[in-house]
Each structure stands twice: as structure tokens, then as C-alpha cells.
């Protein structure tokens, strides 16, 4: 299970590296479901290129596709995104705790150094 989650996280982050794919996800997040034709319109790239990006997003499990008649609509799949956001939040807590300790240490050193001077001490 851990292994599965790991490779999922890999695929999610690999998919998120590309700015066009991030823009597609942002749009899906705002608008819910969008047809592929609509989705391709704002981008200065051809439909086949958009399809390739959608394939990457699909493989990463970040979107789902459904077909109604001739129209294929795309929708955001929230779970893998949530996992990636959870990872980032953990990373943020990790660094936040460190910076807190750094601040406490620097402030103690500052107190030892005496009043703040306008001119930096020469080494």
C-alpha cells in the first residue's frame, strides 16, 4: 500500500511540473467539467498537444474523462491532488518548525550581542 501511494505521489508531482497542465487543472477546479474543445481554446498549442497533456493527467489519475455523444468532457479527480497537497503541508510544517528554532537561536544571539547598531560589526 505504501508503495502504491509512493508511485502515485511521483506521478502527481511529475504531472504538476508542467505549467500548461497546472493551468488545465486550475481551470477544471474553477469550472467543474469542461469539454476538450473548450479546454484547448485558451492555449496557444494545437489540440494534439493538449491531448498529450490530458493523457499525462489521466495516467496520474488527476482527471477523469467521460463521453456524451461526440463530446468528451474532462473533470478533476480530487484524491491524488489532496495527497500531493498533504505532502506539501507536511514539508511546510517540517521547515516551519526548523525556522522557528533558527529564529529562537538568532534572537538569543542578538540578545547576547547587545543593542542593535546602525553600522555592522567588523569581523
Amino acid at each position: 500500500m505504501v508503495k502504491f501511494q509512493g508511485s502515485q505521489l511521483d506521478r502527481t508531482f511529475a504531472a504538476l511540473v508542467d505549467p500548461t497542465r497546472r493551468a488545465i487543472l486550475a481551470r477544471l477546479d474553477l469550472e467543474g467539467s469542461v469539454s476538450i474543445g473548450e479546454l484547448a481554446r485558451p492555449f496557444a498549442i494545437k489540440l494534439p498537444a493538449v491531448m498529450k497533456h490530458l493523457d499525462v493527467l489521466g495516467t496520474a489519475g488527476l482527471i477523469t474523462r467521460s463521453k456524451t455523444g461526440r463530446t468528451v468532457t474532462v473533470r478533476l479527480a480530487p484524491e491524488p491532488m489532496k495527497e500531493a497537497m498533504d505532502w506539501l503541508r507536511r514539508y511546510e510544517r517540517f521547515w516551519s518548525a526548523r525556522l522557528g528554532r533558527l529564529a529562537a537561536y538568532a534572537e538569543a544571539e542578538e540578545a547576547k550581542a547587545g543593542p542593535m547598531k546602525t553600522v555592522e560589526d567588523t569581523p
Binding site: L88, E92, R98, L99, R101, L102, A106, E109, E120, D121
Partner: protein, 148 residues
């Protein structure tokens, strides 16, 4: 999306914060993410110089990170490459991530802006169980049982 930025105001002048970030004595006082000790802290603070820091977490696991200083502007900016290593060797192939720290003097001391970018590599490494997140899991569970 694949980078993290934190801003913190510190009541100390930039030169003191810079020392805390770059001297082995300073690093030993804050680098560990929990109360565990820093075991090794080596820095060669110049462009092209390297750092290596090893720490032990409260759960007993040990972790080491190394990197190269890419920009050193005392006392206002540091940029360095970053990767988790074991005995100086990368634990896994892949691109290095990057840490950038800017120190801006303000009335009350220093405004520190911390950015860790190219995080997809770290996420990937973690997902293979070789980063620190397994240890963080254990630590969080431990703290949760203690406070329960």
C-alpha cells in the same frame, strides 16, 4: 506548486541570522526538525563550496543532507542545491532540489524569506521511503499518543 515559500520576521540583525544559517555552531542549534541532536555540521561558505549536515531524530533515525552553495551574499542572500544523502553519497539518483534564503533588514531585525523549490524530486524520494517523512510519521504518532 512544486515549491514552498515561508516568510518569517526575526528579532535579530541580518548578520546574526546569516551566521546562524552558515556556521557549524549555529546550525547545530536549530537544524534538527525535532529535539534530536545535530551530529555533523560542515560548511564551506563560498560559491562552489559544500555543506553537509547529519542529525538524529527523537525516534532514533538519522538523516543527512548535503548541497553546494550557489550564491553567497553576506549577509543578505544564500542559495544552495539540496539533496538527502547517506555518508556523502546520494540516496537516490535524480535532480537536486534548491533552497534559497533572503534576509532583508527591517526595523525590528530581519525578514527572512525561505524558498525550497524543485520539490518534485524530494516528493519522489520520500515516496520511496528514503527521505525523512517516514520518521516524521513516527514522530507525529508518538506526539499524538503522548498528548492523548
Amino acid at each position: 506548486m512544486t515549491s514552498l515559500t515561508l516568510v518569517r520576521r526575526i528579532a535579530a540583525r541580518p548578520s546574526i541570522v546569516f551566521e546562524a544559517l552558515t556556521t557549524p555552531d549555529g546550525i547545530a542549534c536549530w537544524w534538527g526538525p525535532d529535539g534530536g541532536p545535530v551530529l555533523v555540521a560542515e560548511t564551506d561558505v563560498r560559491v562552489g563550496g559544500r555543506f553537509r549536515v547529519r542529525f538524529r531524530m527523537l525516534d532514533g533515525s538519522e538523516h543527512e543532507s548535503t548541497g553546494e552553495y550557489i550564491e553567497v551574499v553576506k549577509p543578505t542572500r544564500l542559495a544552495m542545491s539540496w539533496r538527502w544523502t547517506h555518508g556523502g553519497e546520494p540516496v537516490e539518483a535524480g535532480e537536486e532540489s534548491r533552497v534559497e534564503i533572503d534576509l532583508r533588514p527591517i526595523d525590528t531585525g530581519t525578514e527572512l524569506t525561505f524558498t525550497h523549490s524543485r520539490l518534485q524530486t524530494e516528493a519522489s524520494r520520500d515516496s520511496h521511503g528514503r527521505g525523512w517523512s517516514g520518521s516524521l510519521d513516527k514522530l507525529e504518532r508518538y506526539l499524538a499518543t503522548r498528548s492523548a
